[in-house]
Amino acid sequence: MIEIENLSKRFGKVEAVSGLSFSVAPGRVTGFLGPNGAGKSTTLRMLLGLVRADAGAATFAGRRYEELPHPSAQVGAVLEDASFHPGRSGRNHLRVLAAAGGHPPARIDEVLERIGLADAADRRVKGYSMGMRQRLAIAAAMLGDPDVLILDEPTNGLDPPGIRWVRELLRAEAGRGRTVIVSSHLLSEVAQSVDDVVVISRGKLRANGPLERVLGSSDGPVTRVRSADPTRLRDLLAAEGMTVDAGGDDALIVRGTDPAAVGRVANRGSVDLVELVAVSRSLEDAFLELTGEAGE
Protein backbone atom coordinates (compact mmCIF):
# COMPACT_ATOMS: atom_id res chain seq x y z
CA MET A 1 0.00 0.00 0.00
CA ILE A 2 1.34 3.41 -1.02
CA GLU A 3 0.17 6.35 1.04
CA ILE A 4 0.69 9.98 0.15
CA GLU A 5 -0.40 12.44 2.83
CA ASN A 6 -0.42 16.22 2.42
CA LEU A 7 2.73 16.08 0.35
CA SER A 8 4.16 19.43 -0.72
CA LYS A 9 7.27 20.51 -2.57
CA ARG A 10 8.40 23.88 -3.81
CA PHE A 11 11.35 24.57 -6.13
CA GLY A 12 12.10 28.26 -5.65
CA LYS A 13 8.98 30.12 -6.66
CA VAL A 14 7.40 27.10 -8.32
CA GLU A 15 4.99 25.07 -6.22
CA ALA A 16 5.54 21.64 -7.78
CA VAL A 17 3.30 19.66 -5.44
CA SER A 18 0.78 21.11 -3.02
CA GLY A 19 -1.01 19.26 -0.23
CA LEU A 20 -1.32 16.07 -2.25
CA SER A 21 -3.01 13.08 -0.63
CA PHE A 22 -4.01 9.72 -2.09
CA SER A 23 -3.37 6.04 -1.62
CA VAL A 24 -2.65 3.17 -3.99
CA ALA A 25 -4.08 -0.26 -3.26
CA PRO A 26 -2.40 -3.62 -3.92
CA GLY A 27 -3.64 -5.91 -6.67
CA ARG A 28 -4.68 -2.98 -8.85
CA VAL A 29 -3.03 -0.83 -11.49
CA THR A 30 -3.31 2.83 -10.60
CA GLY A 31 -2.78 5.43 -13.30
CA PHE A 32 -1.12 8.59 -12.02
CA LEU A 33 -2.25 11.12 -14.58
CA GLY A 34 -1.65 14.73 -15.29
CA PRO A 35 -0.25 17.01 -17.97
CA ASN A 36 3.46 17.62 -18.31
CA GLY A 37 4.69 19.65 -15.35
CA ALA A 38 1.76 18.60 -13.17
CA GLY A 39 4.06 17.29 -10.44
CA LYS A 40 3.88 13.55 -11.15
CA SER A 41 7.61 12.88 -11.35
CA THR A 42 8.30 15.07 -8.33
CA THR A 43 5.71 13.14 -6.33
CA LEU A 44 7.17 9.79 -7.32
CA ARG A 45 10.71 11.00 -6.57
CA MET A 46 9.58 12.14 -3.11
CA LEU A 47 8.01 8.71 -2.62
CA LEU A 48 11.37 7.14 -3.51
CA GLY A 49 13.41 9.45 -1.27
CA LEU A 50 15.19 11.12 -4.18
CA VAL A 51 13.58 14.50 -3.55
CA ARG A 52 12.97 15.83 -0.04
CA ALA A 53 9.39 16.84 0.71
CA ASP A 54 8.82 20.28 2.24
CA ALA A 55 5.81 18.88 4.09
CA GLY A 56 3.75 15.73 4.35
CA ALA A 57 4.73 12.11 3.97
CA ALA A 58 5.01 9.51 1.23
CA THR A 59 5.24 5.98 2.57
CA PHE A 60 4.99 2.29 1.83
CA ALA A 61 2.81 0.70 4.51
CA GLY A 62 3.81 3.50 6.87
CA ARG A 63 7.54 3.48 6.13
CA ARG A 64 9.55 5.88 4.03
CA TYR A 65 11.54 4.28 1.20
CA GLU A 66 14.88 4.76 2.94
CA GLU A 67 13.44 3.17 6.10
CA LEU A 68 12.48 -0.06 4.34
CA PRO A 69 14.66 -2.95 5.51
CA HIS A 70 15.33 -4.12 1.97
CA PRO A 71 14.15 -1.28 -0.29
CA SER A 72 14.91 -2.62 -3.78
CA ALA A 73 13.38 -6.00 -2.87
CA GLN A 74 10.18 -4.29 -1.76
CA VAL A 75 9.84 -1.50 -4.31
CA GLY A 76 10.91 -1.48 -7.96
CA ALA A 77 10.98 1.81 -9.83
CA VAL A 78 11.37 2.90 -13.42
CA LEU A 79 11.87 6.63 -13.57
CA GLU A 80 11.29 8.81 -16.60
CA ASP A 81 14.95 9.51 -17.26
CA ALA A 82 16.21 5.98 -16.64
CA SER A 83 19.91 6.30 -17.43
CA PHE A 84 22.75 3.86 -17.77
CA HIS A 85 26.49 4.10 -18.21
CA PRO A 86 26.74 3.89 -22.00
CA GLY A 87 29.91 1.81 -21.88
CA ARG A 88 28.51 -0.86 -19.58
CA SER A 89 26.55 -3.84 -20.87
CA GLY A 90 22.97 -4.45 -19.85
CA ARG A 91 24.01 -7.51 -17.87
CA ASN A 92 26.74 -5.59 -16.03
CA HIS A 93 24.30 -2.83 -15.19
CA LEU A 94 22.07 -5.43 -13.56
CA ARG A 95 25.10 -7.03 -11.84
CA VAL A 96 25.85 -3.68 -10.18
CA LEU A 97 22.27 -3.28 -8.99
CA ALA A 98 22.00 -6.89 -7.85
CA ALA A 99 25.14 -6.54 -5.75
CA ALA A 100 24.06 -3.19 -4.27
CA GLY A 101 20.55 -4.44 -3.53
CA GLY A 102 21.64 -7.81 -2.18
CA HIS A 103 19.77 -9.81 -4.84
CA PRO A 104 21.00 -13.24 -5.94
CA PRO A 105 22.94 -13.13 -9.24
CA ALA A 106 20.64 -15.82 -10.65
CA ARG A 107 17.86 -13.20 -10.78
CA ILE A 108 19.77 -11.35 -13.52
CA ASP A 109 19.21 -14.07 -16.12
CA GLU A 110 15.64 -14.57 -14.94
CA VAL A 111 14.64 -10.94 -15.47
CA LEU A 112 16.61 -10.65 -18.72
CA GLU A 113 14.69 -13.64 -20.03
CA ARG A 114 11.36 -12.29 -18.77
CA ILE A 115 11.74 -8.88 -20.41
CA GLY A 116 13.10 -10.34 -23.64
CA LEU A 117 16.58 -8.84 -23.46
CA ALA A 118 18.63 -11.99 -22.94
CA ASP A 119 20.13 -11.96 -26.44
CA ALA A 120 21.33 -8.35 -26.11
CA ALA A 121 22.41 -8.56 -22.48
CA ASP A 122 26.13 -8.53 -23.22
CA ARG A 123 26.01 -5.60 -25.63
CA ARG A 124 26.96 -2.15 -24.40
CA VAL A 125 23.96 0.01 -23.53
CA LYS A 126 24.97 2.78 -25.91
CA GLY A 127 23.97 0.48 -28.76
CA TYR A 128 20.49 -0.13 -27.34
CA SER A 129 17.33 1.30 -28.87
CA MET A 130 14.96 3.37 -26.72
CA GLY A 131 12.70 0.35 -26.30
CA MET A 132 15.61 -1.84 -25.18
CA ARG A 133 16.69 0.77 -22.63
CA GLN A 134 13.16 0.91 -21.29
CA ARG A 135 13.08 -2.87 -20.99
CA LEU A 136 16.40 -2.80 -19.19
CA ALA A 137 15.04 -0.20 -16.77
CA ILE A 138 12.04 -2.43 -16.11
CA ALA A 139 14.37 -5.41 -15.63
CA ALA A 140 16.28 -3.39 -13.03
CA ALA A 141 13.02 -2.57 -11.24
CA MET A 142 12.02 -6.24 -11.16
CA LEU A 143 15.40 -7.52 -10.04
CA GLY A 144 14.35 -7.72 -6.39
CA ASP A 145 10.95 -9.28 -7.25
CA PRO A 146 9.26 -6.37 -5.43
CA ASP A 147 5.66 -6.13 -4.22
CA VAL A 148 5.38 -2.54 -5.40
CA LEU A 149 6.12 -1.30 -8.92
CA ILE A 150 6.42 2.40 -9.70
CA LEU A 151 6.69 3.36 -13.35
CA ASP A 152 7.11 6.96 -14.43
CA GLU A 153 6.04 7.46 -18.05
CA PRO A 154 7.18 3.93 -19.00
CA THR A 155 5.80 4.12 -22.54
CA ASN A 156 7.75 7.25 -23.54
CA GLY A 157 9.56 6.53 -26.77
CA LEU A 158 8.16 3.04 -27.15
CA ASP A 159 6.70 1.71 -30.39
CA PRO A 160 3.17 0.21 -30.37
CA PRO A 161 4.33 -3.35 -29.63
CA GLY A 162 6.43 -1.97 -26.76
CA ILE A 163 3.46 -0.07 -25.36
CA ARG A 164 1.33 -3.20 -25.53
CA TRP A 165 4.09 -5.16 -23.79
CA VAL A 166 4.16 -2.63 -20.94
CA ARG A 167 0.37 -2.76 -20.60
CA GLU A 168 0.38 -6.54 -20.39
CA LEU A 169 3.21 -6.44 -17.88
CA LEU A 170 1.29 -4.02 -15.65
CA ARG A 171 -1.82 -6.20 -15.72
CA ALA A 172 0.19 -9.34 -15.03
CA GLU A 173 1.95 -7.78 -12.05
CA ALA A 174 -1.30 -6.47 -10.56
CA GLY A 175 -2.80 -9.91 -11.18
CA ARG A 176 -0.12 -11.32 -8.90
CA GLY A 177 -1.35 -9.05 -6.13
CA ARG A 178 1.27 -6.36 -6.56
CA THR A 179 0.77 -2.67 -6.09
CA VAL A 180 1.36 -0.94 -9.42
CA ILE A 181 1.35 2.79 -10.05
CA VAL A 182 2.08 4.09 -13.52
CA SER A 183 2.31 7.74 -14.39
CA SER A 184 1.49 9.21 -17.77
CA HIS A 185 0.57 12.52 -19.33
CA LEU A 186 -1.39 10.63 -21.99
CA LEU A 187 -4.57 9.02 -20.72
CA SER A 188 -4.91 7.02 -23.93
CA GLU A 189 -1.69 5.14 -23.19
CA VAL A 190 -2.85 3.82 -19.84
CA ALA A 191 -6.65 3.85 -20.05
CA GLN A 192 -6.73 0.24 -21.23
CA SER A 193 -4.63 -1.08 -18.41
CA VAL A 194 -5.50 0.85 -15.24
CA ASP A 195 -8.16 0.10 -12.64
CA ASP A 196 -7.90 3.35 -10.69
CA VAL A 197 -6.73 6.81 -11.54
CA VAL A 198 -5.23 9.67 -9.58
CA VAL A 199 -5.44 12.87 -11.59
CA ILE A 200 -3.29 15.85 -10.66
CA SER A 201 -2.71 19.21 -12.22
CA ARG A 202 -0.44 22.05 -11.12
CA GLY A 203 0.64 19.96 -8.17
CA LYS A 204 -2.86 19.48 -6.78
CA LEU A 205 -5.20 16.51 -6.69
CA ARG A 206 -8.06 16.82 -9.18
CA ALA A 207 -9.67 13.41 -8.89
CA ASN A 208 -9.05 10.01 -7.42
CA GLY A 209 -10.89 6.71 -7.74
CA PRO A 210 -11.88 3.96 -10.17
CA LEU A 211 -11.33 4.96 -13.79
CA GLU A 212 -14.96 4.73 -14.83
CA ARG A 213 -16.22 6.75 -11.89
CA VAL A 214 -13.63 9.49 -12.24
CA LEU A 215 -13.44 9.83 -15.99
CA GLY A 216 -16.20 7.72 -17.43
CA SER A 217 -19.74 8.53 -18.44
CA SER A 218 -21.36 5.52 -16.83
CA ASP A 219 -22.83 7.77 -14.15
CA GLY A 220 -25.40 9.05 -16.66
CA PRO A 221 -25.55 12.64 -17.85
CA VAL A 222 -22.79 15.04 -16.97
CA THR A 223 -23.29 18.77 -16.62
CA ARG A 224 -20.75 21.55 -16.61
CA VAL A 225 -21.87 24.62 -14.68
CA ARG A 226 -20.16 27.89 -13.85
CA SER A 227 -21.28 30.70 -11.57
CA ALA A 228 -19.87 33.80 -9.92
CA ASP A 229 -20.12 32.00 -6.57
CA PRO A 230 -18.87 28.45 -7.19
CA THR A 231 -18.47 27.64 -3.49
CA ARG A 232 -22.13 28.36 -2.71
CA LEU A 233 -23.28 26.57 -5.84
CA ARG A 234 -21.19 23.51 -4.92
CA ASP A 235 -22.73 23.49 -1.43
CA LEU A 236 -26.27 23.71 -2.82
CA LEU A 237 -25.68 20.90 -5.32
CA ALA A 238 -23.99 18.71 -2.72
CA ALA A 239 -26.90 19.30 -0.34
CA GLU A 240 -29.16 17.79 -3.03
CA GLY A 241 -26.98 14.69 -3.05
CA MET A 242 -25.36 15.44 -6.40
CA THR A 243 -21.77 14.36 -7.18
CA VAL A 244 -19.74 17.49 -7.84
CA ASP A 245 -16.12 17.79 -8.98
CA ALA A 246 -13.96 20.77 -9.80
CA GLY A 247 -13.71 21.31 -13.54
CA GLY A 248 -11.10 24.07 -13.80
CA ASP A 249 -11.71 27.82 -14.31
CA ASP A 250 -14.17 27.81 -11.38
CA ALA A 251 -16.44 25.43 -13.29
CA LEU A 252 -18.11 22.48 -11.57
CA ILE A 253 -18.73 19.08 -13.12
CA VAL A 254 -21.97 17.52 -11.89
CA ARG A 255 -22.26 13.81 -12.56
CA GLY A 256 -25.46 11.84 -12.99
CA THR A 257 -27.54 14.98 -13.35
CA ASP A 258 -28.80 16.82 -16.42
CA PRO A 259 -28.55 20.61 -16.87
CA ALA A 260 -32.25 21.19 -16.11
CA ALA A 261 -31.95 19.70 -12.61
CA VAL A 262 -28.76 21.66 -11.93
CA GLY A 263 -30.44 24.86 -13.12
CA ARG A 264 -33.43 24.30 -10.80
CA VAL A 265 -31.12 23.96 -7.77
CA ALA A 266 -29.25 27.14 -8.72
CA ASN A 267 -32.54 28.99 -9.21
CA ARG A 268 -33.91 27.90 -5.86
CA GLY A 269 -30.69 29.10 -4.20
CA SER A 270 -30.71 32.40 -6.14
CA VAL A 271 -27.28 31.73 -7.61
CA ASP A 272 -26.59 33.38 -10.97
CA LEU A 273 -25.16 31.07 -13.59
CA VAL A 274 -22.79 32.06 -16.38
CA GLU A 275 -22.57 28.64 -17.99
CA LEU A 276 -24.77 25.55 -17.95
CA VAL A 277 -24.15 22.86 -20.54
CA ALA A 278 -24.62 19.14 -20.98
CA VAL A 279 -21.28 17.49 -21.46
CA SER A 280 -20.81 14.75 -23.97
CA ARG A 281 -17.45 13.43 -23.07
CA SER A 282 -14.87 10.95 -24.02
CA LEU A 283 -12.41 9.76 -21.40
CA GLU A 284 -9.91 12.16 -22.87
CA ASP A 285 -12.36 15.08 -22.60
CA ALA A 286 -13.02 14.25 -18.99
CA PHE A 287 -9.33 14.04 -18.29
CA LEU A 288 -8.68 17.41 -19.90
CA GLU A 289 -11.53 18.97 -17.94
CA LEU A 290 -10.24 17.65 -14.67
CA THR A 291 -6.73 18.85 -15.33
CA GLY A 292 -7.94 22.24 -16.50
CA GLU A 293 -6.23 21.68 -19.84
CA ALA A 294 -9.38 21.64 -21.96
CA GLY A 295 -9.16 24.28 -24.64
CA GLU A 296 -5.66 25.35 -23.60
Binding site: G49, L50, S72, A77, L79, A82, S83, A99
Partner: protein, 247 residues
Protein backbone atom coordinates in the same frame (compact mmCIF):
# COMPACT_ATOMS: atom_id res chain seq x y z
CA UNK B 1 28.18 -2.36 3.11
CA UNK B 2 29.77 -5.46 1.57
CA UNK B 3 27.19 -5.49 -1.24
CA UNK B 4 27.66 -1.80 -1.92
CA UNK B 5 31.43 -2.20 -2.03
CA UNK B 6 31.06 -5.13 -4.40
CA UNK B 7 28.73 -3.06 -6.61
CA UNK B 8 31.26 -0.22 -6.77
CA UNK B 9 34.06 -2.61 -7.67
CA UNK B 10 31.91 -4.10 -10.45
CA UNK B 11 31.31 -0.57 -11.75
CA UNK B 12 35.07 -0.01 -11.82
CA UNK B 13 35.82 -3.22 -13.66
CA UNK B 14 33.09 -2.93 -16.27
CA UNK B 15 34.01 0.31 -18.02
CA UNK B 16 36.79 0.89 -20.51
CA UNK B 17 37.81 4.16 -18.84
CA UNK B 18 39.20 2.33 -15.85
CA UNK B 19 41.06 -0.21 -17.96
CA UNK B 20 42.46 2.53 -20.22
CA UNK B 21 43.67 4.79 -17.41
CA UNK B 22 45.01 1.87 -15.36
CA UNK B 23 46.88 0.67 -18.45
CA UNK B 24 48.24 4.18 -19.00
CA UNK B 25 49.42 4.28 -15.37
CA UNK B 26 51.24 0.97 -15.73
CA UNK B 27 52.74 1.94 -19.09
CA UNK B 28 54.01 5.38 -18.02
CA UNK B 29 55.45 4.06 -14.77
CA UNK B 30 57.27 1.24 -16.57
CA UNK B 31 58.50 3.59 -19.29
CA UNK B 32 59.96 6.01 -16.76
CA UNK B 33 61.62 3.23 -14.79
CA UNK B 34 63.08 1.57 -17.88
CA UNK B 35 64.40 4.83 -19.33
CA UNK B 36 66.00 5.91 -16.05
CA UNK B 37 67.46 2.46 -15.44
CA UNK B 38 68.83 2.31 -18.98
CA UNK B 39 70.12 5.87 -19.34
CA UNK B 40 71.27 6.96 -15.86
CA UNK B 41 74.12 5.85 -13.64
CA UNK B 42 72.52 5.68 -10.18
CA UNK B 43 74.72 5.25 -7.13
CA UNK B 44 73.99 2.90 -4.25
CA UNK B 45 72.54 5.79 -2.23
CA UNK B 46 70.40 7.26 -5.02
CA UNK B 47 69.18 4.16 -6.83
CA UNK B 48 65.95 3.76 -4.87
CA UNK B 49 64.94 7.38 -5.43
CA UNK B 50 66.12 7.55 -9.04
CA UNK B 51 64.76 4.27 -10.41
CA UNK B 52 62.09 2.88 -8.12
CA UNK B 53 59.86 5.84 -7.37
CA UNK B 54 58.20 6.28 -10.74
CA UNK B 55 54.82 4.87 -9.63
CA UNK B 56 52.29 7.17 -11.32
CA UNK B 57 49.28 5.35 -9.87
CA UNK B 58 48.52 8.24 -7.49
CA UNK B 59 47.89 10.67 -10.32
CA UNK B 60 45.86 8.26 -12.45
CA UNK B 61 43.77 6.85 -9.60
CA UNK B 62 42.85 10.38 -8.48
CA UNK B 63 41.63 11.12 -12.03
CA UNK B 64 39.79 7.78 -12.07
CA UNK B 65 38.16 8.49 -8.71
CA UNK B 66 36.93 11.85 -9.96
CA UNK B 67 35.68 10.28 -13.19
CA UNK B 68 33.98 7.52 -11.17
CA UNK B 69 32.00 9.74 -8.83
CA UNK B 70 31.23 12.57 -11.26
CA UNK B 71 30.19 9.95 -13.84
CA UNK B 72 27.25 9.13 -11.57
CA UNK B 73 25.85 12.58 -12.33
CA UNK B 74 27.13 12.79 -15.90
CA UNK B 75 25.39 9.57 -16.89
CA UNK B 76 22.58 10.10 -14.33
CA UNK B 77 23.25 6.68 -12.82
CA UNK B 78 23.18 8.33 -9.39
CA UNK B 79 19.41 7.75 -9.40
CA UNK B 80 19.62 3.99 -9.84
CA UNK B 81 22.56 3.86 -7.41
CA UNK B 82 20.53 5.59 -4.70
CA UNK B 83 17.41 3.55 -5.41
CA UNK B 84 19.46 0.42 -4.79
CA UNK B 85 21.15 1.99 -1.75
CA UNK B 86 19.10 4.88 -0.37
CA UNK B 87 21.50 5.50 2.53
CA UNK B 88 23.47 8.19 0.73
CA UNK B 89 26.42 8.44 3.12
CA UNK B 90 26.92 4.66 2.94
CA UNK B 91 26.88 4.92 -0.85
CA UNK B 92 29.59 7.61 -0.74
CA UNK B 93 31.58 5.59 1.78
CA UNK B 94 31.39 2.49 -0.43
CA UNK B 95 32.55 4.52 -3.42
CA UNK B 96 35.45 5.93 -1.40
CA UNK B 97 36.51 2.52 -0.12
CA UNK B 98 36.23 0.99 -3.60
CA UNK B 99 38.57 3.57 -5.09
CA UNK B 100 40.93 3.26 -2.14
CA UNK B 101 41.11 -0.49 -2.78
CA UNK B 102 41.51 0.12 -6.52
CA UNK B 103 44.31 2.62 -5.87
CA UNK B 104 46.04 0.21 -3.54
CA UNK B 105 45.87 -2.67 -6.04
CA UNK B 106 46.89 -0.52 -9.00
CA UNK B 107 49.87 0.83 -7.10
CA UNK B 108 50.92 -2.67 -6.03
CA UNK B 109 50.68 -3.87 -9.63
CA UNK B 110 52.78 -0.94 -10.86
CA UNK B 111 55.29 -1.18 -8.04
CA UNK B 112 55.84 -4.89 -8.61
CA UNK B 113 56.21 -4.29 -12.35
CA UNK B 114 58.72 -1.45 -12.00
CA UNK B 115 60.63 -3.31 -9.30
CA UNK B 116 61.06 -6.36 -11.54
CA UNK B 117 61.98 -4.19 -14.54
CA UNK B 118 64.33 -1.97 -12.52
CA UNK B 119 66.16 -4.88 -10.90
CA UNK B 120 66.48 -6.67 -14.24
CA UNK B 121 67.91 -3.67 -16.12
CA UNK B 122 70.25 -2.52 -13.32
CA UNK B 123 71.56 -6.05 -12.76
CA UNK B 124 72.23 -6.50 -16.47
CA UNK B 125 74.23 -3.23 -16.44
CA UNK B 126 76.13 -4.23 -13.30
CA UNK B 127 74.78 -1.18 -11.48
CA UNK B 128 73.87 -1.16 -7.79
CA UNK B 129 70.35 -2.23 -6.81
CA UNK B 130 68.51 -1.21 -3.63
CA UNK B 131 68.14 -3.52 -0.66
CA UNK B 132 65.06 -5.68 -1.21
CA UNK B 133 63.62 -4.57 2.13
CA UNK B 134 63.93 -0.92 1.03
CA UNK B 135 62.14 -1.70 -2.22
CA UNK B 136 59.37 -3.52 -0.33
CA UNK B 137 58.98 -0.55 2.03
CA UNK B 138 58.66 1.77 -0.96
CA UNK B 139 56.05 -0.49 -2.55
CA UNK B 140 54.00 -0.36 0.66
CA UNK B 141 54.28 3.42 1.02
CA UNK B 142 53.31 3.97 -2.63
CA UNK B 143 50.23 1.78 -2.15
CA UNK B 144 49.17 3.74 0.93
CA UNK B 145 49.56 7.01 -0.96
CA UNK B 146 47.50 5.71 -3.90
CA UNK B 147 44.69 4.64 -1.55
CA UNK B 148 44.71 8.04 0.17
CA UNK B 149 44.71 10.20 -2.96
CA UNK B 150 41.96 8.03 -4.49
CA UNK B 151 39.81 8.66 -1.41
CA UNK B 152 40.51 12.39 -1.69
CA UNK B 153 39.56 12.27 -5.39
CA UNK B 154 36.15 10.77 -4.60
CA UNK B 155 35.45 13.53 -2.07
CA UNK B 156 36.59 16.24 -4.48
CA UNK B 157 34.50 14.82 -7.33
CA UNK B 158 31.41 14.48 -5.13
CA UNK B 159 31.74 18.11 -4.14
CA UNK B 160 32.14 19.47 -7.65
CA UNK B 161 29.97 16.93 -9.59
CA UNK B 162 30.80 18.45 -13.00
CA UNK B 163 33.34 16.06 -14.52
CA UNK B 164 35.41 18.42 -16.72
CA UNK B 165 35.44 21.11 -14.04
CA UNK B 166 36.55 18.62 -11.39
CA UNK B 167 39.38 17.22 -13.52
CA UNK B 168 40.60 20.64 -14.63
CA UNK B 169 40.31 21.79 -11.01
CA UNK B 170 42.49 18.90 -9.85
CA UNK B 171 45.10 19.65 -12.53
CA UNK B 172 45.11 23.33 -11.54
CA UNK B 173 45.57 22.46 -7.87
CA UNK B 174 48.34 19.96 -8.65
CA UNK B 175 50.28 21.91 -11.26
CA UNK B 176 49.55 25.58 -10.51
CA UNK B 177 48.19 26.23 -7.02
CA UNK B 178 50.39 23.89 -4.98
CA UNK B 179 53.68 24.68 -6.79
CA UNK B 180 52.90 28.40 -6.41
CA UNK B 181 52.24 27.94 -2.69
CA UNK B 182 55.45 25.93 -2.27
CA UNK B 183 57.36 28.74 -3.98
CA UNK B 184 55.68 31.67 -2.22
CA UNK B 185 54.51 30.23 1.10
CA UNK B 186 56.21 26.87 1.69
CA UNK B 187 54.84 26.62 5.24
CA UNK B 188 51.36 26.42 3.68
CA UNK B 189 52.40 24.56 0.54
CA UNK B 190 53.68 21.55 2.49
CA UNK B 191 50.05 20.78 3.31
CA UNK B 192 49.11 20.40 -0.37
CA UNK B 193 47.05 17.19 -0.83
CA UNK B 194 48.12 16.38 -4.37
CA UNK B 195 51.89 16.93 -4.20
CA UNK B 196 53.66 17.71 -0.97
CA UNK B 197 51.69 15.43 1.35
CA UNK B 198 51.88 12.32 -0.91
CA UNK B 199 55.62 12.98 -1.33
CA UNK B 200 56.05 13.21 2.43
CA UNK B 201 53.98 10.08 3.14
CA UNK B 202 55.90 8.08 0.48
CA UNK B 203 59.08 9.31 2.18
CA UNK B 204 60.55 10.48 -1.11
CA UNK B 205 63.61 12.73 -1.04
CA UNK B 206 62.18 16.29 -1.42
CA UNK B 207 65.04 17.34 -3.65
CA UNK B 208 64.45 14.40 -6.03
CA UNK B 209 60.74 15.21 -6.07
CA UNK B 210 61.37 18.80 -7.11
CA UNK B 211 60.82 20.49 -3.75
CA UNK B 212 64.45 21.65 -3.42
CA UNK B 213 65.34 22.48 0.14
CA UNK B 214 61.75 22.88 1.36
CA UNK B 215 61.24 21.11 4.69
CA UNK B 216 58.36 18.75 3.98
CA UNK B 217 56.33 17.30 6.85
CA UNK B 218 57.38 14.05 8.47
CA UNK B 219 55.56 10.97 7.05
CA UNK B 220 53.44 10.57 10.21
CA UNK B 221 52.37 14.21 10.31
CA UNK B 222 51.75 14.21 6.57
CA UNK B 223 49.54 11.13 6.95
CA UNK B 224 47.45 12.93 9.58
CA UNK B 225 47.17 16.02 7.39
CA UNK B 226 46.12 13.88 4.40
CA UNK B 227 43.49 12.10 6.50
CA UNK B 228 42.20 15.52 7.56
CA UNK B 229 41.86 16.56 3.90
CA UNK B 230 40.03 13.32 3.08
CA UNK B 231 37.79 13.65 6.14
CA UNK B 232 36.90 17.25 5.31
CA UNK B 233 36.18 16.49 1.64
CA UNK B 234 34.09 13.44 2.60
CA UNK B 235 32.12 15.30 5.28
CA UNK B 236 31.32 18.20 2.95
CA UNK B 237 30.43 15.88 0.08
CA UNK B 238 28.25 13.70 2.33
CA UNK B 239 26.40 16.74 3.69
CA UNK B 240 25.78 18.01 0.17
CA UNK B 241 24.68 14.61 -1.09
CA UNK B 242 22.29 14.09 1.83
CA UNK B 243 20.52 17.37 1.30
CA UNK B 244 20.50 17.44 -2.49
CA UNK B 245 17.32 16.75 -4.46
CA UNK B 246 17.77 14.37 -7.37
CA UNK B 247 15.28 15.80 -9.83
Amino acid sequence: MRGLLEAELIKLRTTRTFLALAGAAVATSLLITCLVALLSEPTESSVLTDVFQSDTSGFFITILAIVGITGEWRHRTITSSLLAAPARVRFLLAKTLAFAVAGLLLSLLISVAITIAGYAILSSRDLPTPEFSDALRQIGLNAIVAALVASFGVGLGALIRNQPVAIVGLLLIAFVVEPTLIALAPDVGVFGPTGALPTSIADIDPDAAGYGDVDLLSPGLALLAMLAWIGAAFALAATLLKTRDLT
